[in-house]
Symmetry: C2
Subunit: 651 residues, 2 copies
């Protein structure tokens, strides 16, 4: 084993891209075997990558893990890997094509030996892919770990129990402009390209969506401001605002699909074929044969999974919803009880007492969300989904439904059972503002502060040994420091936050037009706190190729539909509208229902009429398709011609 670190006198001859961390109790021979497999040529079934052990840092205590490895690859190897994973890159004619080594010089930005052609995120993705697909040859178990069984074709990485393949290595970790050019971020949507370059498509799409969403809310916010300034309490005007709101939110969601298609096309993920999905690490079952690949792998009957989903998970979710409802009812009882005490004998202390139920309820909601989240993860894990995507979808759905219910149930109760619009407005404002503040503190500043403390400790330790001119740490220290950072668990929580904000804006927009203004303000700071979080709190995540925001598009559209129902009912309940139908409620309700149905119909027609992919990109995709068809035909014709020439040598 070569023990040289990257920082030794000889200097790095290649750029380390990924850090591979093995459990500290891994047997010496297992490490040797793994490194040999990684270094081995593809010809021999290896990954053909470069790998070196990271030197020990200043802390020489026992707790340090010596099994940290830097992994990289030659330029040539990376390009071959790009072809292997099916990357799409910009061709010289401006279209996006699947990269092949044979035609590499026809791609735009390919100069010399292709240095800088692949983005950092792509290089890391390729290396991760190569390590993931490193398969056992004829080993029956991992050397030195006889319990870790292997069979030919088994992915080695899935066996390496505590293999955290994480970690960035490049120190230029600021794709976001510095504070000086803050304005630029907000104005210049192109910055998503930089994010994509550094963090990959999944992350970039989230930031793209966040920026788009913020821009899209600006018209709503602008229209909402005069309602607040001039204290317009007319429901006539609210009707206009609500109608605009409903149509607008449909339009922006449809346009986002087009926008996301454009981005995904530019990033080459739109036309990229999905590789065959391997089972997720947690998946277990009887060893059988996969009907698709014919390979040996665990199998688990779908019927059994369906039983688990429908007989256990669904009832559990319903039970949780009921519990949440129950807690809400207790809150309203407490609220009433406190009010009655205050009304009986109002003192300073009873005045303070008035806030107690709300505070308790808010805390209980947060705790319930947290507990439920763990329960949902456990249940979804227990459902034993074969694919990561299926696991994610089930988890998202579970968490989504509960969070929606938990956050909005009290508002629905106030709006439709108590029918108290003033209280609704107050609660809405309180919930919105507190959740925004809490969120930003919880998700970025608190972890940052913890991280910073550790960081400072480390720097102090290093300074003990060597004098540092600038505050830059040597490579091995930096890597070890970052290895301790939290792992970013994907964009789930970020999207969930946006989803709930969208709910506050759209569900009750006609009673509180200022919500849009608050959300726009929140989103502007959110861009920064999320960027901050990505740069300073978490380990650099691996890029995940994404062509759209997936299940979230559906969730936002569903919210839009619910918003039509709630807004129509709210308007129908308003005293001003009731005044138009003095003689009978029946007429009023029928009109409300009719208008609601019309709005829903308009929504569906709109989403049908607006094409999901812009014309221009449709043409580009069609051209690619056409060319591959033509190439196939030409090949066929050539075969026929050759056969013809064979049959009739001289005509």
């Amino acid at each position: 084993m070569q023990g040289g670190t990257m920082a030794d006198s000889s200097g790095p001859v290649w750029t380390p891209l990924v850090v591979l961390e093995l459990a500290s109790d891994t047997a010496e021979e297992a490490v040797t075997w793994l490194l040999r497999r990684i270094r081995d040529t593809q010809h021999n079934g290896g990954a053909d990558l470069l790998v070196e052990q990271l030197g020990l840092g200043v802390e020489t205590q026992k707790k340090q893990n010596p099994n940290l490895f830097l992994v990289g690859a030659s330029n040539q190897r990376l390009l071959a890997g790009a072809e292997d994973v099916g990357l799409f890159k910009e061709y010289s004619d401006g279209s996006m094509r699947g990269f092949t080594c044979a035609s590499k010089h026809n791609f735009k930005d390919f100069n010399g030996d292709g240095d800088g052609f692949l983005s950092m995120a792509e290089c890391q993705y390729i290396i991760k892919h190569e390590l993931d697909t490193l398969r056992a040859k004829d080993e029956t178990h991992v050397p030195g770990h006889s319990h870790a069984k292997l069979y030919p074709g088994k992915s080695i990485k899935q066996r390496q129990t505590k293999t955290s393949l994480t970690q960035r290595n490049q120190r230029d970790r600021r794709p976001w402009p510095s504070k000086g050019s803050m304005r630029k971020v907000i104005v210049n949507a192109l910055s998503t390209d930089d994010i994509r370059h550094y963090y990959g498509e999944g992350q970039a799409l989230y930031f793209g969506f966040l920026e788009y969403f913020t821009f899209a809310l600006v018209p709503m916010a602008l229209i909402g401001v005069p309602y607040f300034l001039f204290d317009w309490e007319d429901y006539d005007k609210y009707v206009i605002f609500a109608a605009f709101n409903l149509i607008w939110s449909t339009v922006i969601l449809e346009l986002w699909k087009r926008c996301s298609a454009s981005l995904a096309y530019r990033w080459g993920t739109l036309s990229r074929k999905k590789a065959f999905e391997e089972p997720r690490p947690g998946f277990h079952g009887v060893l059988g044969f996969n009907p698709v690949t014919g390979r040996e792998e665990p199998t688990y009957p779908t019927a059994k999974r369906h039983l688990r989903v429908y007989l256990v998970s669904v009832p559990f979710v319903l039970l949780c919803l009921y519990l949440s409802l129950y807690v809400m009812m207790i809150y309203f009882q407490m609220e009433g009880w406190v009010l009655s005490i205050h009304d009986e004998e109002p003192t300073f202390w009873t005045g303070i007492l008035l806030f107690i139920p709300s505070i308790i309820y808010a805390v209980v909601i947060e705790i319930m969300n947290l507990i439920y989240r763990y329960a949902a993860e456990f249940l979804t894990e227990w459902e034993n989904h074969r694919l990561e995507s299926s696991y994610q979808n089930h988890l998202v759905l579970k968490v989504l439904v509960f969070n929606f219910f938990n956050c909005f149930a009290s508002l629905f109760y106030i709006a439709f059972v108590m029918q108290d619009m003033v209280l609704l407005r107050q609660s809405l404002a309180t919930l919105l503002i507190t959740s925004q503040i809490l969120n930003q503190i919880m998700e970025s500043f608190l972890p940052y502060w913890l991280q910073r403390r550790r960081n400072k400790k480390m720097i102090r330790k290093v300074q003990k040994r060597a004098t540092l001119q600038d505050k830059e740490l040597p490579l091995e220290e930096q890597v070890r420091l970052e290895a301790d950072m939290s792992t970013y668990l994907g964009t789930f929580d970020d999207y969930l936050e946006l989803f709930l904000l969208f709910g506050y804006v759209s569900l009750f927009s006609c009673v509180y037009p200022l919500a849009a203004v608050l959300v726009v303000l929140n989103n502007i700071t959110e861009v920064y706190s999320d960027a901050f979080k990505m740069c300073h709190v978490f380990k650099r995540p691996f890029s995940e190729p994404a062509a759209n925001i997936g299940v979230w598009q559906l969730a936002f559209e569903a919210m839009c539909v619910i918003a039509v129902v709630t807004n129509c009912s709210l308007i129908g309940m308003s005293p001003q509208v009731k005044a138009y139908f003095p003689e009978s409620d029946t007429q009023l309700i029928l009109w409300t229902v009719a208008i609601e149905h019309c709005l829903l119909a308009i929504k569906f027609i709109l989403s049908f009429l607006i094409p999901d992919v812009p014309k221009q990109i449709q043409v580009k995709l069609a051209r690619l398709e056409f060319e591959s068809l033509e190439a196939l035909k030409k090949k066929l014709k050539a075969t026929i011609r050759a056969t013809w020439a064979l049959i009739t040598p001289e005509q």
Copy 2:
């Protein structure tokens, strides 16, 4: 030009598959040129097909068109064509794979030289495709017709103004069993395979859908019968029936998707890639370059087409709907006027007068549908769609909306404005029964009778010249006879009929449960009248590969959604349900609306939960995808290995 007919003494050496008819005034040199191009080898840019002129029949009058040609191809040529159009056939392992000549022996049912491997419909489709894609080389115009301009790459067939490429030739025109085994058709859904073999996938899917739809209605019909027999007028029971109906229709539509996916997979159209669509013959515009193919072709700005659609077509359709509404109001006025006359002084003549408005209205509806159909075709033609599919979609949508309105407006008026349930039931029954009878007479028996008369005349003429043992005509007479038959315009009218029947069943099912029984009975005869129509009335149409019923699935689903709304309102309006809420209408309406929303939500969740493609076929498709990916990877690895071997000759 070879003038030999197929029936001369030498006997046919190849099976004629398609009849090509040119305008009778086509210049001699144009015919010679076209035949040469068709016979020429593919090497020289020809179609490499066999073609012979059809001999003149018994009628030697001038009106006969001499330019009838029989087209066929060698077995080898047909197989090459099958690869060219991308046919999917069953492989020896039971999966469906794209046919290639190189691997032909691995396909199931491929014996010897592949005789009988391709179905008749496929052979004809291939020949049609080859004729369609015969392109001009360096001719500037059609010889002898200097006004018929050509440019390199221009499809010749599109220039041949009156080229009716139609006509079957095989006389075994009965894929449906004879009368003796009628029961078999109804029980044995497999007969769609025979239809597909003879008429192609589009037609077979229609019959598959018709059969499926009939079976699916049987449970509804069975539940509906006791309502009729025991005169159950309880709305409690109607509620149960309506609820069952709504859920059931959602389920059957979702299951149809799975069923159609299974059929399409078996027929190889599910995974088949669509060829690039050429502009439809009627498309015109400034000559420009197609952005996809780069070929010269007429171009027409999309914005202009959108203007035509939204500023002319949409207002026109709305105007027509208004007119239809106006006519309906006149009908109700006439009805009222006639009733008042009858009530004043009831005589036998006023009793007859009572029927007059209904009859006039029914006739006017039919006339309006007819006129509107022409207008819709004209308008859609004028919208100048580039693709046939886009033209069809716009036409279907226009006709659908108007027919729906025209047929159901009066029922809606009776149900929701007049609120007269007894009249609604009567009108529903009358409309349903009359439209069924009218339809079957109009669409098959009338054209058949006309055809038969011509047929007999021809047979008599032939008998004048030669004595016929059996009633079989010689080939040239048969071809000429069939050339005069009507052209089948696609499954449009057949689907439209089913769509309207589905409307009668679902929209007002809770007031007239017997509708399902009537529709089931109708469908059983419909199978026969449609089969009869296909065999005896129309020229054999070319097969069109189809993987699903397309826009009709959407139309049926939309009908389902509307049915939820109508049924809920009908039940809400019923006196029995009203009796539950004696104190206030408001409560009743709120409950009705709530239940309606729940039903709609259940519908959407159901359609979301039921996968569109059966698991088993998903696996098969995934396996194909996986194998092609693996093959690609293997090729890549081989290249790397070769490069490796080159770099390190001896390790």
